[in-house]
Symmetry: C2
Subunit: 206 residues, 2 copies
């Protein structure tokens, strides 16, 4: 009975199976939520047996936590990339577009986070108050400086960031609603790109 620990380097098989499991878990957790997902569903989606899942991860919860913590960096990367030395409006617009692109390319990750936050972030609240808050505060200071220098219109930096999150993630998290309202034959994400361009253009114009 060998524990799979980060101590000794992972074998080829371990890398492959752990990857497969996390991919399957993302699929199932994002669609069903933590409580709604079952190990059998994940096992089936991964093409592995249930005991085999639990050979690689000690519990259902451990899979979920691994997914969340592994994703947080990807999730915050676009904000990290916002350059204090860049042109203010261009930097903010680029951030918004990168987030919108993630709603198109990574809707499952978006929904996974949304599910977690909706339930009160029981497995993430620590990270929210530390890592996330620090990054946001840092970037908010940058935006505030831009704002005070008159390079963008005056605006609350924290709520500006919230608005980017809300407006971009909405197209991933509420996809069914958006599509139901728009009807077939329209590309919500394309239109959103145009609309949000206009919105932030007008909001930020000095």
């Amino acid at each position: 009975m060998a524990e799979i620990t980060p101590q000794r380097p992972r074998t080829r098989i371990q890398r492959r199976n752990i990857g497969t499991i996390l991919e399957a878990a993302l699929e199932v957790f994002s669609a069903q939520g933590f409580r709604g997902a079952t190990l059998d569903q994940i096992a089936q989606a991964a093409g592995l047996s249930k005991p085999n899942l639990l050979y690689y991860f000690p519990s259902k919860e451990a899979i979920h936590v691994e997914l969340l913590s592994g994703l947080l960096d990807d999730w915050l990367a676009p904000l990290r990339a916002m350059d204090p030395a860049g042109e203010p409006k261009a930097e903010i617009m680029a951030y918004m577009h990168r987030k919108l692109e993630m709603s198109r390319e990574m809707p499952r990750e978006s929904r996974l986070f949304a599910n977690e936050i909706l339930q009160g972030a029981p497995r993430m609240s620590a990270l929210l108050g530390s890592e996330l808050k620090e990054l946001v505060d840092e970037k908010a200071a940058v935006i505030r400086a831009w704002s005070e220098a008159g390079r963008i219109a005056p605006v609350d930096p924290h709520h500006l960031i919230f608005s980017i999150w809300a407006l971009t993630q909405h197209y991933a998290d509420f996809d069914v609603q958006v599509r139901a309202v728009l009807g077939p034959g329209r590309d919500p994400l394309d239109e959103a790109g145009q609309f949000l361009d206009t919105l932030f253009e007008r909001l930020l114009a000095p």
Copy 2:
């Protein structure tokens, strides 16, 4: 064994208990999601026994459906109230503020809907494509007319409505995240009111 049907008028006790159950179910479903909520939790929150719940509702699912369909009208009321004969910007601003007020006063309802939509709206997709779409299309036409008459800046009406939903509901659905980032001693909803005023002011100014 009497069925509780809408046929014969409800007794006093029925009205009271059905109300209590729906209130408790809203509390539990909105915090845990459908799958995460248990009948025992709802029964305890309602101060009733589990079999007694099932005396008034045939199943857990029935309680959930009743909640959702009963809530849809309240949810759409602010949009319905948008008056084509009113002053365009004021009407839109008023709608936004009413929605924001609902995020403050009815966060559980907001999260209940968010949960449902996130899971792909398995119990609501019919309503989304009919009742919701029709109302939104109707109001979108009004907004488009305002826009074409030059009374507000040109803007895609459907995405304008989406943006109001996204920006206001974000403060209810992602409450923990918003509070974690802002830190203690700030009132997110108050600040949001200011910020969104500015945002839509600049977006809509002709």
